[in-house]
């Protein structure tokens, strides 16, 4: 097992500025409300281990529940799969439009978010002895990162697959005829690596998504998972006040342990579990700037008031010890 720490630094404003996020967040909340007015179902049990979920808190009127066993946090109410897929598609489309902050800072996001992710994938493939693999990008199109992957010459082919279609395909697999293997270009059992950039955070059934991905992977195939984890610093400190917690992007907010368990349950063996986030402290600082009355302990306020070197050292500690809110996992399909 390995974990990765990084000295890459970049400001919050270059990847997900709070001001820009508020506009996008408002759109997501509105769209989720609209979707739930059409179709609504409630999760009482954890979609991973089946434990009965406990109350966590409300975020702008949306109820979140918590798994007492893993600490995972889940949005309580979802739409049916078809409507959920439409919601994710709408959010993705908005992210891609000139209205969202994403398109305003596309160059910075490319440099600080997508290229480091690509490099991580390439380095891992080298370490695992995989050259130019067939890669599956599991996203809701349109997705900027899948374009970065497609433009890279690191892969023999990049197969971009709609994450909700994989979920539905897994649910419906018993209904499908034998030609099911023809879906997605007949690549079942042929994909050497799959990347899930925050996909598990969004879909209505993360276990079904992983089962679906697994069915496309070769034996010993790899998956690359990124996501925000609720066991990390900014999430733990801010809780329900964390403005980065909103549906549908944060429908499932796993703890690092919960995410690892989810992968184990789905037939994957983790090779790398890292939290190389660089923004935890800055995110809390930005929230404090946005709302000075935000509840923080005296230690937290002291930390935020400390000099940049102290804050950087603390962020490095969070990375090294698996305590940042941004998680990266590499896992191998267990055969």
């Amino acid at each position: 097992m390995r974990s990765i720490q990084t000295s890459y630094t970049f400001p919050l404003s270059s990847v997900k500025p709070l001001e820009g996020l508020l506009r996008y967040r408002m759109y997501c909340l509105e769209e989720t409300r609209r979707t739930l007015s059409v179709s609504r179902r409630r999760r009482e049990r954890s979609p991973v281990g089946g434990a009965r979920l406990e109350p966590f808190d409300y975020v702008d009127g949306f109820e979140y529940l918590r798994c007492p066993e893993t600490g995972n946090v889940f949005l309580a109410e979802l739409a049916d799969s078809k409507n959920w897929a439409c919601l994710l598609s709408a959010a993705s489309g908005y992210r891609h439009s000139p209205k969202a902050f994403h398109s305003e800072i596309i160059k910075e996001r490319n440099e600080n978010v997508y290229l480091p992710k690509l490099e991580w994938i390439q380095n891992t493939l080298r370490l695992q002895g995989l050259k130019k693999p067939l890669l599956m990008a599991v996203v809701t199109p349109p997705n900027e990162f899948s374009y970065v992957l497609e433009r890279s010459d690191a892969f023999a082919e990049v197969l971009t697959v709609d994450e909700m279609k994989l979920v539905e395909e897994d649910r419906d697999k018993e209904k499908l005829d034998p030609r099911a293997n023809q879906v997605n270009g007949g690549k079942k059992g042929a994909v050497e690596a799959a990347v899930l950039p925050e996909s598990l955070d969004r879909v209505d059934d993360p276990l079904a998504l992983l089962r679906g991905v697994r069915s496309y992977l070769k034996d010993d195939g790899l998956i690359f998972v990124t996501g925000l984890v609720c066991s990390g610093f900014d999430f733990t400190v801010l809780g329900r006040n964390n403005l980065y917690l909103y549906p549908p992007d944060r429908t499932n907010c796993f703890s690092l342990t919960g995410l690892t368990e989810l992968l184990n349950q789905s037939g994957f063996v983790p090779l790398e579990i890292s939290t190389p986030g660089v923004l935890d402290v800055e995110i809390v600082l930005a929230h404090l700037g946005h709302d000075p009355a935000i509840p923080l302990s005296s230690f937290e306020r002291r930390l935020l008031a400390a000099n940049p070197e102290t804050r950087a050292a603390f962020q490095a500690f969070l990375q090294e010890r698996g305590l940042s809110s941004f998680a990266r996992i590499v896992a191998r399909k267990q055969t």
Partner: protein, 339 residues
Amino acid sequence: MNCLIFGYGYMGKIRYEVLHKHRDVRSVKIIDPGIDPSTAGLDGVLLPANAEISWDQFDATFVCTPNNVTSDLCIEGLRHCGRVFCEKPPGRNWEEFCRIAEAAATVGDHTLVFGFNHRLHPSIQAMKALLGDGGLGEVLYVKGTYGKSGGVQYRENWRNDREMSGGGILLDQGIHMLDVFQFLVGPLEVVNAVLSDGFWGCGVEDNAFVLLRSESGVPVFLHSSATLWKHTFRLEVGCRDGYLVATGFLSQTGSYGREQLVIGKRQFEDEALALGNPREEIIHFDRDESWDKEVNEFIASIKERRPPAHGTLEDARRVMQIVRDIYALAEPLDKLGRN
């Protein structure tokens, strides 16, 4: 497969544990005249020290003894069962290594592997994958420091008795780093070496400073020491497009610290921002599978009737040539005296 282990010291115990859980190993027996036959957990495992060995009962032999009997047992194992896994060093000196090599040449269809597990450590494997086409480009230099503090029993340890060991810290620990160097940049030749026995005074080197060069001209430097009061493993590789620094080493005691690999990229293009302090990634490793990997490979090569992938006679030859040349080149310790 039925295995026989000679020696149940530090390495013998490690090999026993690995073999004991290996799916292709049916039985493991141990011979060690220094072990009390009533030792817990060894019922039916420990053979009488003076018993004649029924070689036809064994498919493979593991030589985990002090260096003074390594070559004899290795040769005996080769002649009687043809499959030998021998701990480093492959003999006390070049002559003993040559005896092993000559014996191997007379045994057809043999398998002979030497225990150089360091190259199988995760940080070293990751290093190897990132060199050259792996992203960091051609290697410019290599620098390794490997050392320990000795400890209160250091002078009494057979490893520091020239008659039993054949050499000091270079032959005990430094040899691993020499193997790792050659794993990374290929065969090396010795340019210069300075040995000293400044603290322990055992008559074998407690510090070795060795300058080497690869066939393509890459300069390589080793500091092997028994006076590093803080246990240290540090390997730096400078490349055209970046650098790698492996530090710490997963070991049973954990005394070398957390094994990690720093990956840095050259950033001339952005020097105003980087100021000679480029962005780095640090990989932390928490699982050492090197012991399993080398035994797995030994057993797999026997089963599949193919040459082993590492720890080969050629790997051993290259490293023993370097050791031979260092001892020949460095000023004899008895002439230097103690500081």
